[in-house]
Symmetry: C2
Subunit: 175 residues, 2 copies
């Protein structure tokens, strides 16, 4: 399964940090790329900077016309919203129906009504208000049954798990 | 298990939205309360406002002296950090050792070295950089095996899961 994320309603001044978290979460949980409906070159740069150090292979594009993009996407379209079907109930159905590609849509505060219609599934990671970052992470984690988070990245920097403190290998200094 | 969250390094101007997401994620995934090392009355108000509408029973306190708080906390202390032991490996150990209460510590960018020492477990929700909101959500979701997200809240507003659109019951208008 190839997973992409579409982030709607990003406002550069207000949402920079949340949107950066959305992008890095997508990458860390195994998505192949993220698309933003608003143009934001700084955001692209922050995310590419992380990928440049920790491992490439993640696409980011901003200023995408969301409506045709969502409508024409070839694959399963999942919209994460607290108003949707509880993830416990939705995941088994999605897993049995989803084909090769998936687009996961996450909004900011207000999401146009059409998104609910264009999505194949409207999924709630719980029906309480919390965070699109949290919703995306848990959805991807459950959908991939933990595999997404085990994705391998080949970057200059590699963190080695440890019980106390920090162990980081810098391959740029190794050769 | 009673779970609490300690958020370090919150800077009111820069982190308001991320910290609000951390707090609401804690609540939605079944934690009993959150503590911030920085005083921020606006943040307290935003979180209480959500709890006031969607269901009480979640404590928030800001301006907590983190070091004595963390040192003296009675229960299992888990620090979420990309440098820690992978969550896949950590959760079984935590589950077998954790007793009645747990404190989950999430930092902002820089975390004092003492935190790694004071924690019983340093846990990485993947060893890639992403988001403390995502890390907290996935950790709580996995630790509670989905139970946290099934927590019941008795509030004025209740979202009813649905396939398209929004269904919200406002009990304030019902009686």
């Amino acid at each position: 399964m190839e997973i992409f994320v579409l982030r709607l309603g990003h406002r550069p001044a207000r949402d920079k940090r949340i949107s950066t978290h959305v992008a890095l979460t997508s990458r860390a949980f195994g998505a192949k790329g993220i698309f933003f409906s608003t143009k934001d070159v700084d955001l692209e740069e922050s995310v590419r900077d992380v990928a440049g150090r920790f491992g490439e292979g993640f696409e980011i594009r901003t200023g995408v016309k969301w409506k045709p993009f969502l409508r024409d996407f070839q694959g399963t379209k999942v919209h994460l919203t607290m108003y949707g079907v509880h993830v416990d109930d939705a995941i088994p159905r999605i897993r049995s129906e989803a084909k090769g590609r998936m687009l996961v849509v996450v909004g900011a505060e207000k999401v146009p009504a059409e998104v609910y219609q264009l999505a194949d599934f409207n999924v709630a990671v719980g029906n309480q208000p919390h965070s699109e970052v949290a919703a995306l992470a848990v959805f991807l984690d459950r959908l991939t049954q933990g595999e997404g988070l085990r994705s391998e990245f080949e970057g200059r920097l590699k963190v080695l798990p440890c019980e106390r403190g920090k162990r980081v290998v810098d391959r740029g200094n190794a050769g």
